[in-house]
């Protein structure tokens, strides 16, 4: 079986700057990649390329065997993003937001799906309230529901723990746990403990290059920490 996410010799050049330099990795179905690195290392660019928002300068990317530069709409239908910004309209209610994205994704039986998700993220009682009135944690829970609405098979988590209260973290992690088996995850994070405990593979990007990449079952945590501290924190 071919891997769910496949990246081969990927480079991205912005003007004169190399944002990504010869990146290669594979992620099997059900895998969980934790992506570490300082700001500006190219983490977000990498995710944007895999999710078809940015075209690569050279190299190849495959998601479920599809090429983002050719089957962009089909790929976008298969991915979900939970980011540190909620991607929700503040002047719409929880339900209206989900209805809107349901239409964008062409979700069928959208009402039943919305009921199910709002129960899962424990927001059923606030479904008619405007997102503007939600706490940060509630907004983030709704953002999780939004990302799962169209049953994506690959989930991108861009610093999902940022600004979450403990309750929202619990919900996020139990949700991830419940869909862990048949989904593939790529998570950008600065939280080493969470990133390592969730992942099946860990990677550190620095200046657009992979400086650390190991499977979790053979993970050398001391080596990881020494590289992480050296590169990310700038310790010597």
């Amino acid at each position: 079986m071919s891997p769910e996410v496949e990246v081969k010799n990927l480079s991205k050049v912005f003007g004169k700057r190399k944002v990504l330099d010869d990146i290669s990795f594979e992620l099997e179905r059900g895998g969980f990649l934790s992506l570490f690195g300082p700001n500006g290392a190219g983490k977000t660019t990498l995710i944007k390329i895999i999710s078809t928002l940015i075209a690569p300068s050279s190299g190849e990317v495959r998601l479920s065997g599809m090429d983002p530069t050719k089957n962009s709409a089909a790929i976008r239908a298969k991915i979900g993003l939970i980011s540190h910004s909620p991607l929700l309209y503040l002047d719409l209610s929880a339900e209206e937001n989900l209805h809107f994205y349901g239409a964008m994704y062409g979700v069928e039986n959208v009402d039943a799906r919305i009921d199910e998700l709002l129960d899962q993220v424990e927001l059923g009682h606030r479904r008619y309230d405007l997102v503007r009135t939600f706490s940060k944690g509630m907004t983030q829970r709704l953002a999780i529901a939004r990302a799962l609405l169209h049953k994506p098979s690959v989930l991108f988590l861009d610093e999902p723990h940022t600004g979450l209260d403990p309750h929202a973290v619990d919900i996020l992690e139990s949700l991830i746990d419940s869909i862990r088996k048949n989904h593939t995850f790529i998570m950008i994070t600065h939280n080493i403990d969470r990133g390592i405990s969730l992942c099946s593979k860990a990677m550190i990007l620095y200046n657009g290059q992979i400086v650390f990449y190991q499977d979790k079952n053979e993970l050398d945590i001391d080596k990881f920490k020494s590289i992480y501290h050296q590169r990310v924190r700038g310790d010597s």
Binding site: F14, G15, K16, A55
Partner: protein, 228 residues
């Protein structure tokens, strides 16, 4: 390429100068068919019209190169498109200046809201927006992408603007057709020679500007390497 540019520049300059010299020294002074008077200021036409037409061609080229950039994503097309907008803009300024001289000589005022010159005024404003837009974008790839899109939008707008402006009733009658139609004999020869000269001259400028972008990018890369 450098050699080609020099040759084009040489041919262009010689033809352009010949055309203008011919117009002044050999060709007779044009006569206004309405009044029967001699019109000396008509001679600016041998410069004004080639400049105006080259400017329009340049804006069309900018849109074509823009479309090529969007299609092929090769940086050279962005350079060419930008160079064409810059030159079109410079030529447009020359059109305005020589046009104003004509106004002054023919009607005694510097500015008339004459349809063609007004069209050029709007074009100048439109392409000023192009430069402002480019300079307010950080990333080169976005600059090129939006530049290409804008060059196409602006070029589509050129004929629409021209036809729209002709709806506004002119206060002054157009004394005689300044498009160059009706030129005969030696006048036509002078006009065509200038026209060809201007075309060669323009192409050499375009290629020079294009090369400059390439060189300055190389320079940036080298600077980056030295800077580490």
């Amino acid at each position: 390429m450098k050699k080609a540019i020099t040759i084009l520049l040489g041919i262009g300059s010689v033809l352009l100068l010949t055309g203008i010299a011919y117009a002044f020294l050999v060709a007779p002074i044009a006569v206004d068919p309405n009044t029967g008077k001699e019109v000396f200021h008509q001679k600016i036409l041998y410069f004004h019209v080639p400049v105006a037409e080259t400017s329009l061609v340049s804006f069309i080229l900018a849109a074509v190169f823009g479309a090529l950039f969007l299609y092929k994503r090769e940086r050279k097309y962005d350079f060419l498109s930008l160079a064409a907008v810059e030159l079109g803009f410079m030529y447009g300024l020359l059109v305005e200046m020589t046009g104003m001289m004509w106004d002054k000589a023919a009607w005694g005022v510097w500015w008339q809201w004459e349809p063609r010159l007004t069209t050029y005024l709007i074009l100048m404003l439109m392409y000023s927006g192009y430069f402002v837009m480019r300079s307010s974008i950080g990333e080169d790839s976005t600059k090129a992408r939006f530049g290409a899109v804008y060059a196409i939008i602006a070029a589509v707008n050129v004929p629409l603007t021209f036809f729209a402006i002709r709806l506004i009733p002119s206060i002054h009658p157009i004394l005689f057709d300044s498009s160059g139609a009706g030129l005969e004999g030696p006048l036509l020869v002078a006009f065509l020679v200038s026209m060809f000269g201007m075309t060669f001259f323009y192409v050499s400028l375009l290629l020079t500007r294009y090369q400059m972008f390439g060189v300055s990018e190389e320079l940036d890369i080298l600077k980056n390497q030295i800077g580490g």
